[in-house]
Symmetry: C2
Subunit: 680 residues, 2 copies
Amino acid sequence: MGIETIKSYLIGRPFPSSMELHERLDKIRGLAVFASDPISSNAYATEAIMSVLILLGSAGLADTLPLALAVAGLVLLVIFSYTQTIMHYPMGGGSYRVSRDNLGVLPSLVAAGSLMTDYVLTVSVSVSAGIRATTSAFPNLEQHRVLLALLAIALITWINLRGVRESGTIFAIPTYAFVLGGLIVIIIGLVRMFGIFGAAPLAASSIVVPTAASLEGFAYTWLLLRAFAGGCTALTGIEAISDGVQAFKPPESKNAAQTMIVMGLMAMSLFIGITFLATHLGLLPDQAESVLSQLGRRVAGTGVLYYWLQISTTLILILAANTGFQDFPRLGSFLAQDGFLPRWMQNRGDRLVFSSGILVLALVSSLLVLLFQANEIAMLPLYALGVMMSFSLSQSGMFRLMGRIRHLKPGETLKTEITEVHYETGTWWKRIVNGTGAVTTSVVFVVLAMTKFRDGAWIVLLTIPILVFGFLAIHRHYQKVASSLRTRDLTIDDLSIVADVAVVPIADVHRGTLRALTYAKRLSKDVRAVCVTTSPEMHERILARWTRFPEITDSIRLVCIDYEYRDVIHPLVDYIEQINNAEFPDKLTTVVIPEFVAESLWERLLHNQTAWRLRHELAQHRDIVLINVPFHLQSVKEWRAERDKAQGPAPTGGGASDRSPSDGKSADEFHPDTPINSDN
Amino acid sequence: MGIETIKSYLIGRPFPSSMELHERLDKIRGLAVFASDPISSNAYATEAIMSVLILLGSAGLADTLPLALAVAGLVLLVIFSYTQTIMHYPMGGGSYRVSRDNLGVLPSLVAAGSLMTDYVLTVSVSVSAGIRATTSAFPNLEQHRVLLALLAIALITWINLRGVRESGTIFAIPTYAFVLGGLIVIIIGLVRMFGIFGAAPLAASSIVVPTAASLEGFAYTWLLLRAFAGGCTALTGIEAISDGVQAFKPPESKNAAQTMIVMGLMAMSLFIGITFLATHLGLLPDQAESVLSQLGRRVAGTGVLYYWLQISTTLILILAANTGFQDFPRLGSFLAQDGFLPRWMQNRGDRLVFSSGILVLALVSSLLVLLFQANEIAMLPLYALGVMMSFSLSQSGMFRLMGRIRHLKPGETLKTEITEVHYETGTWWKRIVNGTGAVTTSVVFVVLAMTKFRDGAWIVLLTIPILVFGFLAIHRHYQKVASSLRTRDLTIDDLSIVADVAVVPIADVHRGTLRALTYAKRLSKDVRAVCVTTSPEMHERILARWTRFPEITDSIRLVCIDYEYRDVIHPLVDYIEQINNAEFPDKLTTVVIPEFVAESLWERLLHNQTAWRLRHELAQHRDIVLINVPFHLQSVKEWRAERDKAQGPAPTGGGASDRSPSDGKSADEFHPDTPINSDN
């Protein structure tokens, strides 16, 4: 029970299943849990656009705000699409379920594979970025960044294993702190910029980067596309809520959709506000200081507000990883329910969270951190690809669904494979919005894949089909299991016949083996005690002792196999296989193994585990029933006392004579290392 | 079979037990196998004496030769004692068996513990010293010395696992190379020194170390004792042959005794020769270059002979570790035979060597190398203590034995616990020799323990009693096992009664569970199918499916346990324990577990191992018989085809109707993740 105690100490006492509803999130906590990823992208999204445009010099930065507005427009498109998803798929599932329901199994698996890749990257990238923010402040820690990142993952894992409400509370603080800090900076910035309330005006920067190259036509468009694709990192994490509808308190759909809209408005206010101020102040992307940090410093000075912003940025970056921990296990459970991932990924743990999904994610993202040495810059080219693919599929799915709803008459209901939809109005403009969204995110996907292919995007483009292949292989396996277990056309005759034989491997005649032999005699008239003898002395010893208990052994066949090697497992297995295959083909053969019950690790070490090895070998066989008859250390006297206490004294049996072995040895007469092998 | 193939590739194909004699050593190989340790000590024994005496300046070195002669005298005493041991204890066992037979169990265990400590140190120290010789030549490798030492241990382990004859052949080369090189250097040295054959005379060194301190009385004696104790490292490894008598070809005793004498003479010739030349040439102990190296260079110049000597020194030092690998496993097997170590240490492996002893030694000595970072200087204070303790006990034992033989009349035979001795003459002087030896080695032990206590000897002085305590604890355990298994006063009534009940934990009604239920019905009239239901839907599903096979289920009690947590193991175990403890106390309760046979690691991963966990929990129980009824993936069609092929078509049973479930689902109707737990 030691492990149980430690476990309950670490992750808290188990929750009964009925508590599931209580574990759910209200909107305030829901926003904090799901929004840290999309909101945290404000720490770098503006900069991502600017760092591409700066190739055209300061003048090129003029395109930043229009591009940011385009990104914000796309975000609103996607959010619109997802509120639709949430309302039509209240059981949650986002891209995976929508594609499955409207586009088919293969697209849905592509969506799932894309999302899983991205969730893993969310964790690795966010944690690494957060740790980098810390090590920038404390350069001494730089050498330990991999360790720190792993510890951060472990911490988030632990919090998530404890359950979603508690993690909601913990994560609420930095998310709201960041939003608040960001908004205050933007408001002060705007107030000062326009000189409202007579505030000290903000002067634009006078540093100008000369135009290095002048691009035209396709090259210029391509540059704009790249900058736009860079800004699209702001879209990561939006998917989260649609997968997690069931994590909200009822009414789930309504709460989730409202939370999603508030999240989008918050994130985009910050994004546009930061971009507007940054471009109007003429800030430049800079290796040494982030644009957000420059902005904070220019607007509010290097004071309390600045540090507030920086610290909450660090925290929200690390906690953005939590979005991955919310979504990956949940998506995993959907896939497991449908038989595309191992079934155990759908089981809720003691605290009602999908523990195995959480642990798998922690493991894979830790591996990634190790592999990339916690260098998020190296991981960024892999990032956001998956999410764009899933957006495209999800919006295409919604486009299709709206097409199906269009044909409904008022009051009519359409039952799809997964959900149930009713007549609704405005399907034509909803289709336009979804279609536009799908096309746009597809373009972004292609741009991302092409511009970042060599930097690592190829890894993702390779991983997604591998995952899909894996999902399909797992699914085939489960179908095979279901079809071989089903009882649909099963008759009684299809159940295997039990062969009338019981094989008992023994190494000596002692209390343990006698107990097993007695048990075996209940099972069959044809009991065979098999003994592998590795020396003539052992052979003789067995024969001599065998006759001492005629009441038990008279009706049992003793088979001695003389063997000139020391590994007795092989001849035993051969003998049993021969009985199973030749004597009783296609019947169940019973093997009774006398097994010493070690009461401590110490005892286990002292006894060689021949019984264990034999069981392991035989467990691979389809038609062998294994019976372990335990025996433990207790003297006959103790045993009798215990028995008599429990059931009154036993009648004195006919065989109650002194069975002293003829050679006069007593305590040392046996080599009871195992019940099976005890050659000396 | 993959592991088997790799294993047989690595250590060779298994040898039959009858080959044991062929695996034995002739005298040439025997000398090489057992002598590398004592002979290799010539690489440092002279120096060990000189490095103490140099405290008195060059003048003090004059005592070197007398002390070396004293050490040589002691070696001859010990060797004499051990040839006696070999002749009187032809089954081998040296110090451990001699002490057991003549002094009692406790002294014998002290001897065994001392020797084991020393064998482990032999390996760690010798390998580290050998690696240091290499890294002196190649300083680049210095940083990898721990790794190199571990690799060397792995190599020696591997050679030893392949069997003793092959290792004899491999080890013969460096041993004889070293002896030959050493003798040639000594002969050339003597020839040149005395100007025989008109050889160029050797001039004595003119460097003189002034006397720093002048000691008198006890202090001087103490210094001499310390120098003498230092020289006693030459005694390590002598014990080896007496333990390994049975590794020699017959006549074992004679061959072993002769080999020991030759070994002693060889080792001592080298020792005295080196010491004589070193002192007469006025060589000084030097941090940078060993005395042996100085001697080689002075006598033979830095030529072929010098390099021959140096390279063979390195090799013999590494191979000295092999003595440990010869002796530790053998001593382990003796202790295991007597029940003081786990029984599996007495089992010979595929190649007829004591594989487990070899592996234990490799593990412990590797740990020591890691702990001491392959620094043999730090380990030396721990060394040679054990061997002195065992010499003292062994010689005391022989003293006692001679005392017992003294009273025999001609023709009379004395049967001791272990051996059989006959009348012999000269017991009085043999007693004197053994007694003198015992006293001397005891004094050396005390001197070593006192002078090196703080440098690490305390570790050994602590380890030996701990080992003895462990031996005794293991022995008590085996006695308990023997007494609880013995059949001496056992009656038929003392074998547990089997309760007429069979519990079958199920999670669903499918082919696998039906097979298990059918099997259970053969065992008892009171079969109980237990199902832990974690949701109302699951409860209903089970009840509905249960009635589909009345031929099987009608006579079975279905117990549904509604449970509001997700960990179904606990209620199952509780239920079974309750049956076992309350309903049928002190009887054997049978539990039949339907178990999915995973045919690959891949399949194992896809099914949660509830069955495995349940079995693990129940295996701790004394009175629960566990039955695994396997089921595997095979459709009914395939199964029928196979059965019909094997035994002709089955008669159409009465129940051969279509068992389609009413809800019309087919392939997906079950969640066959495990036969026990499959809540969705």
